[in-house]
Symmetry: C2
Subunit: 617 residues, 2 copies
Amino acid sequence: MTTPPVRPRDLGFLLHDWLKLDSLLAYPHFQEHSRETVDAMLDIAGRVAADTFLTHYKAADQYQHEPHLVEGQVRILPAIHQALAAFAEIGMFAAPFDAEFGGLQLPQLVYSAAMAQFMAANVATSAYPMLTAGNAKLLVRYANEALVKACALPEIEGRYFGTMCLSEPQAGSSLADIATRAVPDGSDDLGARYRLFGNKMWISGGDQDASANIIHLVLAKVPGPDGKLVAGTQGISLFVVPKVLVEGSEYAGQRNDVVVAGLNHKMGYRGTANCLLNFGEGARHRPGGEAGAVGYRVGGVGQGLPIMFLMMNEARLSVGLGAAMLGYRGYRLAVDYARDRRQGRPLAARGGAPVAIIDHPDVRRLLLAQKAYAEGALALVLYCARLVDEELHGPVEGRGEAASLLGLLTPIAKTWPSEWGLAANDLAIQVHGGYGYTRDFDVEQLYRDNRLNPIHEGTTGIQGLDLMGRKTLRDDGASLAILRHRINATLDRARDLPALADFAHVLDVTWARIGALVAHLKAAGDDAASLAQATPFLSAFGHAVMAWLWLDQAVVASSLPDGGLPDGGDAEEAAFRAGKLAACRFFFETEVPRVDVWLGIVGRRSDLTQTFDPAGF
Amino acid sequence: MTTPPVRPRDLGFLLHDWLKLDSLLAYPHFQEHSRETVDAMLDIAGRVAADTFLTHYKAADQYQHEPHLVEGQVRILPAIHQALAAFAEIGMFAAPFDAEFGGLQLPQLVYSAAMAQFMAANVATSAYPMLTAGNAKLLVRYANEALVKACALPEIEGRYFGTMCLSEPQAGSSLADIATRAVPDGSDDLGARYRLFGNKMWISGGDQDASANIIHLVLAKVPGPDGKLVAGTQGISLFVVPKVLVEGSEYAGQRNDVVVAGLNHKMGYRGTANCLLNFGEGARHRPGGEAGAVGYRVGGVGQGLPIMFLMMNEARLSVGLGAAMLGYRGYRLAVDYARDRRQGRPLAARGGAPVAIIDHPDVRRLLLAQKAYAEGALALVLYCARLVDEELHGPVEGRGEAASLLGLLTPIAKTWPSEWGLAANDLAIQVHGGYGYTRDFDVEQLYRDNRLNPIHEGTTGIQGLDLMGRKTLRDDGASLAILRHRINATLDRARDLPALADFAHVLDVTWARIGALVAHLKAAGDDAASLAQATPFLSAFGHAVMAWLWLDQAVVASSLPDGGLPDGGDAEEAAFRAGKLAACRFFFETEVPRVDVWLGIVGRRSDLTQTFDPAGF
């Protein structure tokens, strides 16, 4: 029997016991689904992930199997093709889409839980469908009917894959400076047509040979009447640029003027082809006999960035999910290793036989930390996935609240799993000792893979600026109030549970401090001085959110009924719940105290980084 | 002109201004040396490191250049041979040895500063001479004259290389459980002879084709009269086992019964061949026609471990030095990148041209942290190197104090650079953004290389147990008192400097807390409960030591005379000193607050890791 990459009880606890999936399934939008159809989907996702994604995890990392160029075309490992075909076969590409587009209309929460298994098995291969889903979602929401039919529907079937083309070699985090030009070129059945000229860097899935076509979503600037590009982000528009022009285009069937200028050779995530793409070189491919990549505008001129943020925000949650699952898989491997490996003995048993290293307190510390980081990160991202469902399909009166809270939590859901999932992978290596440093064990690859996550889709520094600037200092405080309200609901329940009452008090005090700090920063003015502390603010906020989520999970684990429980006998279930309580306790004992350190740093607003003359470096 | 891997002013400040090398050179043992000979050695070491070690740093990491087996013999990249020949040529193998053994009789402090440059350039290639020096030092101290002549002298010339063979596949950190047998086999001109049978794992330089011979130092157990091995570490003896038997052996010139059973394929440090060695297989090589690796005992039966600790303690300092230099090189690369790369603009300058990213406060934060970690780690290890000189060659009345303090600081000097040098490399990648995640830039390799350092020569967990157990709870407090005495001397000077007086107060309070905590733990008893917190204790202690060293450096940087300064004009020197003060301030503002968190964790002695049933993982 296939062992799924994520323990079913881990997902079941989060979805059913904690996030009350049943109440989501009661929304009219999800009426075709039931707990049974959901569990069946999760079950088959786990099996396909184990049988097709996990099986090439190591192979796709190997030097000789990295994506490579053959006559201008990127080739990726055939096992990746096969895995993605299996992924399409079980309907995973279609899972999150509405039935009108051929989708299964599953809740985002369920889709995310299914994706969690693929990401745990193979995060690099999962990047292709992850980007494809985000791409198609943007199209079905903002593109015209012809583009949806020609581009999005084949993505939902899993025949075409999608990309997002934002960064340029000279402008990674700074989209205001992108220089790709989009010159008007009339129109055809697909809408307003342009010719694009420019270079796009770090394009995951920018080319590959696994899908019949590739739909690029490209940010570019339309020149003004003077031929110049508008400075800043307000000049950015969004274009659909298929690799091969699609039905409805005047140039349908022709190869577009998009070429791979190079492949990035990365520390990890090697199965994901990451490309430098040139648009409009005019050398190799000239649709209609002319240079310029043919693209179709989505949304108004200059409105590209807000539209792109739909995909970017989804990608940020996906990065968080992937990072969580890398941490999760390392944790499970470390637990297994620590149970098997016998070495040393406790202080009290000198002279006895060596014990399993899981019996050493310091190894348990390493494992508890991983559990708190990895399972906590997964809980956070799934919580956000539920907010997506609440925002789009929940009772109308709650949608604004869900959207507001989701906006506040997105930088946390991107960053916290990335930073602490990586920390978990570091500890998984440590549990393995020297073996963990060799390529014979997966933990070193998990660590290398996860190192990408604090970088792409907005670095940790960028997320900090987003959280502190846009979501806090320039916000009216409504989203923070919503968060505080939900935290208070947890506190009310936790205070009645003797094992958790102390933690509830600590959490209450912590959030009171954050509230006071935010008020202090707003009153102090000089946002530049505050924003210089954006990263420690993000760290503090993230840990405080995680403390809340762990306390909330502990409340639920403490309050479950004793009988009729899924997955195994009573002893196993009792141990599972004890594990949740232990992770909560670990988090409050050893992680929450860090919050005050970060808050202190933010509150003091040292001018060191602003005033220091870099000649001293 | 060659740019040395370490800026001369960085070494000069530490050696001359801070650690007062002149006062070491006044010891009779070092009377042949002067500041001029020392600076000449450091200068040529920097050039050879840049010209021969740095030049193959990337190549030796590549898949196709990894150490590999050809007919039982490990082959390493020819560039490594050439680099080590150049290293021998300038006398670096001989540098730390006494003149009577053909050495240059340089202070350990100077040797370490020279090695720092090789390690910054190429840590994997530096591992060969690092192990060779430790090996030869043990021999000249403990082995008989014949062994010294036959084995150590060729190592000091750089013709033979050395290894240390401790770990076995089933016993990494737990030497009590080693199972390699050493059976008495008479004696010859090299002394008491044995035949060894067993497997040794993780042997760096265990085989290679760069040296004429390899001298293995092997821990093994001599069977008792009943044929059984003595349990525990007291059964361990130490043996010299040359790859090819040396002059004085009955089997001189014959290939010993030591074979490479496998090579470990590592995440980093790939230029260092890391082997599983089989001793006494009897299949391929049979010296004298019999199975068994021929070895010569050093020290008494059962006295192997304390003797081996001479080499192990030196190796621990070397690991700390290598980790510091990996962090250092990443820091310098990140500074260069941040000065060149233009992207984004500060809040106050929206609409202007993009600025160098070094002008963003968050990037400066990443750089200041790297500076504090990397330069701090280097300072710590060089401080310990000076203690080695004080212990061996200083005024007799101070030797005990130096030895005692060195013992206390060794676990810190091994661990702090490993943990925080790695953290620095993580931040160096972050400064580079997506580029830092590609193999086109060295920072990703530095990060992979440094991940080994918290593992080998005793994991961080093992170092914590050493610091808290042997060096604190089971110590009479004398070494801690010596440390506190030296800290007080720093405080006395810092209190008179207005910019540093506040930090002095914080440091005083921090060490008072540590003193109180140690007293509390000793009074509380139940060492197992305390030792369960050994790692956070090590973290707290390490940061508190580093805070002292940064304050001490800041005192010196503030107190240097204004005129007649080396290396560049006044502006450059002023910026250099301002950098030291900024790193000190950064450390006190953002790092020292962590100490209370760790001390709090230790003081509470939570029973979670001891009582938690691992079924809950």
